[in-house]
C-alpha cells in the first residue's frame, strides 16, 4: 500500500536534484510503501542539500545504507524520500600507526575491514546480519553480535561523527584522536537513534590489531541448563574468548551444527594464548560432561545472518544479567524458534514464531530479570501493535527530536514514544 501523494514540494525537490542522483523508488520499498523519490547523493554536501530541501518541502525522509535493519522500530508514519547513503563510501583518513580511521558513512563494514586488513587491523565488531551493513547503519542501529562483552561495540569505538541535519547544517562532534572529552558526545547520541536526529555522513573509529590466531570450539551440552553452566564456567576462566554463545537446538541446527543445546566459543589472540584457552576450555567441557570439538568459523557468519530480519522474520534481542541468559534462551526457545545468548554481553537473541501476546510475555520475563527487550525486526503488523523498544524516556527523546528535527522530517513515527504528527 502506498500513501504517497505527489506535492508541489516534492516536485521542487525533484527538479532541484541532478537527475543522476535519483534512483528508481521501487528499489526502496519499506513495509510495502514505495517512496515518491529515491536519492543517492554523491557527496556530503549533496546529501545535506537534499535533506534541507526535503525538510523545507515538508517531506518525510528515511535514510538508509545497507537496508538490513529497516524493520527496527515502528513503521514510518510518512515516507516520501529514500535517502541512500551508499555512494558516500570513501576513506577520509586512515592512520594505521595511530590505530584510527575516518570514513564516509555509506561505506560498508566489509569494505572498511578490507582496507584495515591490509594493515593487520580491524574494527572489532560483528553486527547482524553481516559485513554488508554500512558504517552509518552500524552506528544508527547500535547493533553488535557475539563479540560484544568481550570486545567493545561501535558505540565505544566511535571517536567522532559528522552528521547532516534537517536544517542543512553539517555538524561534527568528537574528533579523530583516541581520547577526547571536548563538548557533548553527539556521536553517541546518534548511536542507536535510528537516523531520527540527523543523518550520519562520516565517522572516526578506534581500531584494534587483528588477532594472530583464532579458533572456534563447539561444546555439545545436551541441555540448556548445562549449556548455561558451561558458558558461565568458560566466562569465569577469563580465557582469551572473543565469543561465548549458548545455542538452543534449533539455533544450532540453523547454523549447520548438531541440533543440540550447545556452547559455541571463539578464542582469539597469539597462538600460545589460543592454545592455552582451548586446552582449558576442553577441561571445562570435561567437567560439565559435554563434548568439545574444534570446528571452522562459518557458524559465526551464519549466526549473524540468523539475527537478520531481512526475510521479515521476527527477531528479538533482550538484555539480561549473564546469570539469566540460559534461562531466557529457554523461554524464547519454547516459543518455537531458534534462540541463542551471548553470556558476556547478557544478550539473548531469538526468532520466535510469536504473536504480540507471546512477545509481551517474553519482554515481561526479560524485564523481571532486570533487563529489557527490543524488537530488532518484525513484520509491519506486529510492529504496529508491539512497542519496539520497551521502556525509554519519551520526554527526553521528544525534547531532542524537537531540537534536532523540529519538522519531524527524519523517520517520522519510528520511535515508539514519538507523536506521529
Amino acid at each position: 500500500m502506498t500513501n504517497v501523494t505527489a506535492s508541489p514540494d516534492l516536485e521542487g525537490l525533484r527538479t532541484a536534484l541532478p537527475p543522476d542522483v535519483q534512483r528508481a523508488p521501487e528499489a526502496y520499498v519499506l513495509d510495502g510503501v514505495t517512496p515518491a523519490l529515491a536519492v543517492r547523493p554523491r557527496s556530503m554536501s549533496e546529501l545535506a542539500a537534499t535533506l534541507l530541501a526535503a525538510d523545507q518541502g515538508g517531506l518525510a525522509v528515511a535514510p538508509q545504507g545497507g537496508r538490513t535493519a529497516l524493520t527496527l522500530g515502528r513503521p514510518l508514519a510518512r515516507y516520501d524520500v529514500a535517502l541512500d547513503t551508499t555512494a558516500l563510501d570513501q576513506v577520509i583518513e586512515y592512520a594505521p600507526a595511530d590505530l584510527t580511521i575516518t570514513v564516509e558513512a555509506g561505506m560498508t563494514l566489509a569494505a572498511l575491514q578490507a582496507t584495515l586488513g591490509a594493515e593487520g587491523q580491524y574494527l572489532p565488531v560483528d553486527p547482524a546480519p553481516g559485513d554488508q551493513v554500512t558504517i552509518g547503519g552500524l552506528l544508527a542501529t547500535a547493533r553488535s553480535g557475539a563479540w560484544r562483552g568481550h570486545l567493545p561495540a561501535a558505540r565505544d569505538l566511535v571517536l567522532g561523527a559528522t552528521v547532516a541535519m534537517p536544517d542543512g547544517a553539517t555538524v561534527t562532534s568528537g574528533g579523530r584522536v583516541v581520547k577526547n572529552v571536548s563538548g557533548y558526545d553527539m556521536h553517541r547520541m546518534h548511536t542507536g537513534a535510528l537516523g531520527g536526529l540527523g543523518v550520519i555522513v562520516a565517522a572516526s573509529f578506534k581500531l584494534a590489531p587483528v588477532p594472530a590466531e583464532r579458533a572456534t570450539l563447539i561444546l555439545d551440552c545436551g541441555s540448556l541448563a548445562s549449556a548455561g553452566a558451561t558458558a558461565q564456567a568458560l566466562w569465569d576462566r577469563n580465557l582469551a574468548a572473543r565469543a561465548i554463545t549458548i545455542l538452543d537446538p534449533e539455533a544450532a541446527a540453523a547454523i549447520g551444527l548438531r541440533p543440540s543445546s550447545s556452547v559455541l566459543a571463539e578464542f582469539a589472540g597469539d597462538d600460545v594464548v589460543v592454545a592455552r584457552s582451548l586446552s582449558e576450555a576442553g577441561a571445562v567441557a570435561r567437567d560439565h560432561g559435554s563434548l568439545a570439538e574444534l570446528i571452522d568459523d562459518d557458524p559465526w557468519t551464519r549466526l549473524r545472518r540468523l539475527a537478520s530480519g531481512e526475510t521479515e522474520a521476527t527477531v528479538v534481542r533482550a538484555g539480561v544479567p549473564a546469570s539469566e541468559v540460559a534461562a531466557l534462551v529457554g523461554r524464547a526457545s519454547a516459543m518455537m524458534g531458534p534462540a541463542w545468548g551471548h553470556i558476556a554481553a547478557g544478550a539473548v537473541w531469538a526468532r520466535p514464531a510469536a504473536d504480540a501476546t507471546a512477545l509481551a510475555a517474553l519482554r515481561a520475563a526479560a524485564t523481571e530479570a532486570g533487563g529489557y527487550l527490543q524488537l530488532e525486526s518484525a513484520p509491519r503488523s506486529l510492529r504496529e501493535g508491539v512497542d519496539s523498544f520497551g521502556e525509554i524516556d519519551g520526554q527526553l527523546m521528544n525534547a531532542l527530536k524537537t531540537q534536532f528535527d523540529p519538522n519531524n522530517t527524519l523517520n517520522p513515527g519510528k520511535w515508539a514514544a514519538e507523536a506521529t504528527s
Binding site: 562483552g149 572529552v181 536526529l197 525509554i392
Partner: protein, 481 residues
C-alpha cells in the same frame, strides 16, 4: 559579610534537607569556592544531600528561585567544572558514598556518586574484579565526578574511558525530575542518553546512582620501565609497540624534568640522568604477558635499559612515581598549571619538542608526565603567581599549547573536561554549527540553562551572557593535588 537571617532560598533548602545539610555562612562556603583549576567563585548555598530525593528537592527549589545548580564531588577537577561561577546552589555529592551493590556473578556494581574511585577498587579486589577507569587522582576523586568528566587514566589505553564502563545512570534532571538512562545491561534500546550524559560536566543533570561494568582481574601482569636518553627515542618505542600489534594496558611517559623532581621524593627507581622513562604494563593470561612483554622489550631497542618489576612492591613503586608526579611537582614550585591535550600518538616527539620550546620562550619550566599510548599530554607548567604578570603569561602559554594540539589534529582535552577553562578554545575545534547543535542538546535537557551555567560551551551558547561577570583568574599553591 554576615547574613542576619538565612535567605528564602536557604530556608527552603533547610526545610527540605534539614538544617545540617545546608551551608550558607560565608566561612562555611569558603572551601567550596574552588576546585583544582584556576577558577574561583562562591555559591549562595551548599547542600549535602544523602538521597536521590534530596538532590531532586534541591534542584526543584533552585529552579523555583531561579538560581543555578552546580554538582560537585571531591573538587579535584582541573577545568573549573564544579566552580559555581554564577553562584546558586552547590550540590556536594560526597555524602552519597554507598556502594549499593556488587553483583559478582554478573560483573556489575551499583554505586552512589560520592564513592571514591579507589574505595570501589578496594571493595572489588577481594572478588577478583576491577573497575577499569583509574584516574591518577583515584585516591580522592569520585565516581560521580568521573562520570561528569568522562575521566580516563593510565589504563584507558586498553580499556577505554569512563563512558565505556558505565551501563546505567540514575539522574536528577534540571527541574528535579528523576530518570534512568541506559540499563543494568549493555546496549539499552534507543538513543544512547547514557553515552551523551557521561562527560557532560553536570550541565545536563546530576547523577545520583551509577551502574558500572566490571572486568575480571587478569591472572598475570608485568610492569616494565624502559629508560631512554631522549623523549624522541621513547616516543619511537611507543609507536613500535603498537606497530607490532600489542596494545598494552598502559604506556606512560615521564620526561627529564619530571624524573628529576619525582625520583628524589618518591624513590621509584627512575634514573636521574634519563631523558625519559616509559612505564609499560601488559596484562592477561600468563602466555599473553610473556609474548607481549617480549614485543615491548624488542620495541624498546633504543632504550638504555628495560627493567621489569620483579615483585608487587617493585611494581607499586614504579606506579607510585607516576601517580605521585603531580604532588611532587607541586612542592617544587609555588604553583602548577596542569594541562590536558591530545594528539595523534605518532606526532608525540614533534609536539612535545614544540611544547618545551614554547615554554622556554615564555620563561617557564614545563614538566611532562602523560599517557603516551593515547597521545594524551599533560604539560605541567611551574610558576610563581606572586610574580608580576606570571599568571596571565602561564594561561597564555596554556592556550598556545592547546593550539599546538589542535594544529596536530588533536583535541583540547582528553580527560579533564572543558569546564570554564577551555570554553574559549572550543571554537578552535568546532564550527559555529557544531557548537549551535551542542547548544540544542543542552536546551533539550535544560531549557533555562540553570545547571552548571557557563561551562563547556562558549559564552553565547547556553550561557546567560548578561550575568557573566569577568572571572578572576586565581592560582594558589594550595589549589593543587
Amino acid at each position: 559579610m554576615f547574613s542576619d537571617s538565612p535567605s528564602p532560598l536557604v530556608r527552603d533548602l533547610q526545610a527540605a534537607l534539614g538544617a545540617s545539610a545546608v551551608l550558607f555562612e560565608p566561612e562555611d562556603l569558603l572551601p567550596y569556592e574552588y576546585d583544582a583549576s584556576t577558577e574561583r567563585a562562591s555559591p549562595d548555598a551548599v547542600v549535602i544531600p544523602r538521597t536521590t530525593e534530596e538532590v531532586a528537592a534541591a534542584a526543584r527549589i533552585a529552579s523555583g528561585h531561579g538560581v543555578p545548580v552546580v554538582p560537585r564531588g571531591s573538587g579535584t577537577g582541573f577545568a573549573g567544572g564544579s566552580v559555581p561561577v554564577l553562584g546558586g546552589v552547590l550540590v556536594v555529592l560526597a555524602g552519597m558514598n554507598a556502594i549499593r551493590e556488587i553483583d559478582v556473578a554478573n560483573r556489575v556494581a551499583v554505586v552512589e556518586p560520592g564513592v571514591i574511585n579507589l574505595d570501589l577498587q578496594n571493595a572489588l579486589a577481594p572478588h577478583g574484579l576491577v573497575y577499569a577507569p583509574d584516574p591518577s587522582s583515584q585516591r580522592i576523586c569520585t565516581i560521580g565526578g568521573n562520570v561528569g568528566t568522562n575521566a580516563g587514566g593510565p589504563h584507558t589505553l586498553a580499556h577505554g574511558s569512563t563512558v565505556n564502563h558505565i551501563l546505567g545512570l540514575e539522574v536528577v534532571l534540571p527541574g528535579g525530575r528523576v530518570t534512568n538512562l541506559g540499563a543494568r545491561q549493555l546496549d539499552a534500546p534507543g538513543i544512547d542518553f547514557r553515552g551523551l550524559f557521561v562527560g557532560s560536566e553536570g550541565t545536563l543533570g546530576i547523577v545520583t546512582a551509577v551502574t558500572v561494568r566490571l572486568i575480571r582481574e587478569n591472572e598475570s601482569v608485568r610492569t616494565m620501565l624502559a629508560i631512554f636518553d631522549t623523549v624522541d627515542q621513547a616516543s619511537e618505542a611507543v609507536s613500535a609497540v603498537i606497530r607490532n600489534r600489542v596494545v598494552p594496558m598502559a604506556m606512560e611517559m615521564l620526561d627529564q624534568e619530571t624524573i628529576r623532581v619525582v625520583e628524589p621524593r618518591v624513590h621509584a627507581g627512575y634514573p636521574l640522568d634519563a631523558g625519559a622513562v616509559l612505564l609499560i604494563e601488559v596484562e592477561g593470561l600468563v602466555e599473553a604477558v610473556e609474548h607481549d612483554a617480549q614485543v615491548v622489550i624488542d620495541a624498546c631497542a633504543g632504550a638504555r635499559e628495560v627493567r621489569t618489576a620483579e615483585s608487587e612492591a617493585e611494581r607499586e613503586a614504579l606506579w607510585e612515581g607516576r601517580k605521585s608526579a603531580i604532588g611532587a611537582l607541586g612542592v617544587t614550585a609555588p604553583a602548577l598549571y596542569l594541562l590536558d591535550g591530545v594528539i595523534p600518538r605518532t606526532r608525540l616527539p614533534e609536539v612535545l619538542n614544540k611544547v618545551l620550546a614554547l615554554s622556554a620562550d615564555y620563561g617557564f619550566k614545563c614538566a611532562n608526565m602523560f599517557h603516551a599510548g593515547d597521545g594524551n599530554l599533560h604539560p605541567t607548567v611551574l610558576f610563581d603567581p606572586e610574580e608580576e604578570g606570571a599568571t596571565e603569561r602561564v594561561l597564555e602559554l596554556g592556550g598556545a599549547i592547546m593550539r599546538l594540539c589542535v594544529d596536530a589534529g588533536g583535541s583540547i582535552t582528553g580527560e579533564h573536561g572543558i569546564g570554564t577553562e577551555k570554553r574559549d578554545y572550543m571554537s578552535w575545534v568546532f564550527s559555529e554549527d557544531d557548537l549551535e547543535a551542542m547548544g540544542r542538546v543542552r536546551f533539550a535537557f535544560d531549557p533555562t540553562g540553570q545547571f552548571n551555567p557557563c561551562k563547556i560551551l562558549p559564552t553565547g551558547h547556553g550561557c546567560a551572557q548578561g550575568h557573566f561577570a569577568p572571572i578572576k583568574q586565581h592560582l594558589g599553591a594550595g589549589s593543587y593535588v
